[in-house]
Amino acid sequence: MADLTATPTEAKSIARLEWLLVAIGIVGLLAAPFFLYPIFLMQIMCFALFACAFNLLLGYTGLLSFGHAAFFGGAAYFCAHAVKVWGWPPEAGILLGTAGAAVLGLVMGFFAIRRQGIYFAMITLALAQMFFFFCVQAPFTRGEDGIQGVPRGSLFGLIDLSRPLGIYYVVLGIFLIGVFAIWRIVNSPFGMILRSIRENENRAISLGYSIANYKLAAFVMSAALAGLAGATKAIVFQFATLTDVTWQMSGEVILMTLLGGIGTMVGPMVGAAFIVTLQNTLATSGFPVTIATGVIFMACVLLFRRGIVGEIYARFLGGSKS
């Protein structure tokens, strides 16, 4: 797995650069809704958090899940149902979605971690497809229509989410909390063990770590954070549909991560912004999104496996390697 996840070599200069980027990014995001369409920005943030959560698994644990749409779309359904049908406030709906995704992750992970590599990918894909069929048939998802007209309500009864700026800053807050959580996980002793599993699984076993538990824990965390992104998206767009649980969605988040840079903090966000922008542009042009997505996939794998951010790191910071 080591070569799939091109590790940034010079940690210190990258860390400095990342802090700078983080500062610029936060200021930019605070100011952005005054210049760009807030819904578009919120869409990017939801997908960016989704991709970062996915990257926690692929980039830092070395597990390629082909079934993350189940957590993203599943959480959207749970949240939308709780808010619309049970009349829960949005914060409770989002928490339920996140918790539901974590439970799904626990079940799926329990089966998937029994195999490695491509088998792991195929098992997650198959289990997510099973969840998709469940969503097609279960009455609460309302089949092809999906759950529509989910009320946004107000956060803790204080912040009115029907106002564009109100919901924008709440989504920004959720996004930052989610990314901070991932950053903390990755840079904790726990995260180090995950990386050691990625680099050399057998060695991690011989050091006495019960890697199955670590993998499962990483899987559940990744699923929960993907669920946080999906539940937030349900509140933003006020609907939850089958689109978000399809295998195409699982593919999309892989592409975002791959395109941005596997195993980097910023990469998945860049990839998500790129793909969401591309999709919105193509939607009006009539050119099929599937073909564009497929071509980018092939080009990424053939030409720049480190992704946009990974290539930038390697190009500009690679010199200080030794």
């Binding site: 990918a121 195929m122 198959a126 289990l127 996939f297």
Partner: protein, 295 residues
């Protein structure tokens, strides 16, 4: 009327036949996946798209050139196989030294492109493709009515699977293939052109998918989406069978098709997830798969 487990015998056998047909396609596709995986160590995500491509080649040959089913049965796999070999030579062959997951991701992109192109021109609705005149109609077997074309599909898939197995186990080329799977460097040192073997293998695997596609065209409708839903089930089949043995992949394919048919009789709601449930159970009991050697 004869009843079996409280279900009319006719309905029971009918669903079993549907299961057997589905199983035939699972078997042919997982066979192709196993052949490609054995040699290239790549999971060919584009297999479903190539199956759809084969069906479309047959459909377009009829529409544009008025070439019927029987020539298409040869031409469709040929076209799909040659396109596969070109892709292998120009792109896929660059990924052999990398983590096998890159092969999965690349072929996933390839599948999206192939599917996207056909979707762009033909939408998502199915196109009808008639069974050849010689196989139209059906035969009354006494206990049930068997449409001739379905019987033909079952027989030909058995022949294809057996033929491929024999070709790999009993011929000289097959022996080279197996040797190159075990130790490509040594085989290359003996003067056998391993890169060409790899190209041929991918071509053969793709052609098998194309052949399954043209066989499927009269059974299911020809639709751009026909491959993508199938391939995920076939992945589950492959996880259950393990890709270690070609015969294992084939047997598992038929078994799971029949299991699906039986589920349709007794509990129709679960019929499209039963394969995944079986996969989960097998993972619990025998993580390496029924016929697998690797963990």
């Amino acid at each position: 009327m004869t009843m079996i487990f409280g279900i009319p015998l006719q309905a029971f056998l009918g669903q079993l036949l549907v299961g057997l047909i589905n199983g035939s396609f699972y078997a042919m596709l997982s066979l192709g996946l196993a052949v490609i995986f054995g040699m290239l160590k790549i999971i060919n995500f584009a297999h479903g798209a190539q199956y759809m491509f084969g069906a479309f080649v047959g459909f377009l040959l009829l529409k544009w050139l008025n070439i019927g089913y029987w020539p298409a049965l040869i031409l469709a796999p040929l076209v799909v196989g040659v396109v596969g070999m070109v892709i292998e030579r120009t792109m896929l062959s660059r990924l052999y030294n990398l983590d096998p997951l890159y092969g999965l991701l690349f072929t996933f992109g390839l599948a999206l492109v192939i599917e996207g192109v056909f979707r762009y021109y033909y939408g998502v609705s199915g196109q009808p493709y008639a069974a050849p005149a010689a196989l139209a109609g059906g035969t009354n077997l006494g206990f049930m009515f068997l449409p001739n074309y379905r019987g033909w599909v079952v027989v030909s898939s058995l022949v294809i699977c057996l033929g491929t197995w024999l070709a790999i186990e009993k011929t000289k080329l097959g022996a080279y293939l197996r040797a190159a799977t075990e130790n490509p460097k040594l085989v290359q040192a003996f003067g056998i052109n391993v890169p060409v073997l790899l190209t041929l293998t991918y071509g053969l695997g793709s052609a098998l998918a194309g052949l399954a596609g043209i066989l499927a065209a009269p059974v299911y409708q020809v639709s751009p989406l026909m491959g993508s839903d199938l391939i995920i089930v076939v992945f589950a089949v492959v996880v259950v069978g393990g890709m270690g043995s070609i015969l294992g992949a084939v047997v598992t394919g038929y078994m799971l098709g029949l299991a699906e048919g039986l589920t349709k009789v007794f509990y129709p709601e679960a019929s499209n997830i039963v394969v995944f449930v079986i996969m989960a159970v097998v993972l619990l009991v025998r993580p390496a798969g029924l016929f697998g050697k690797d963990a």
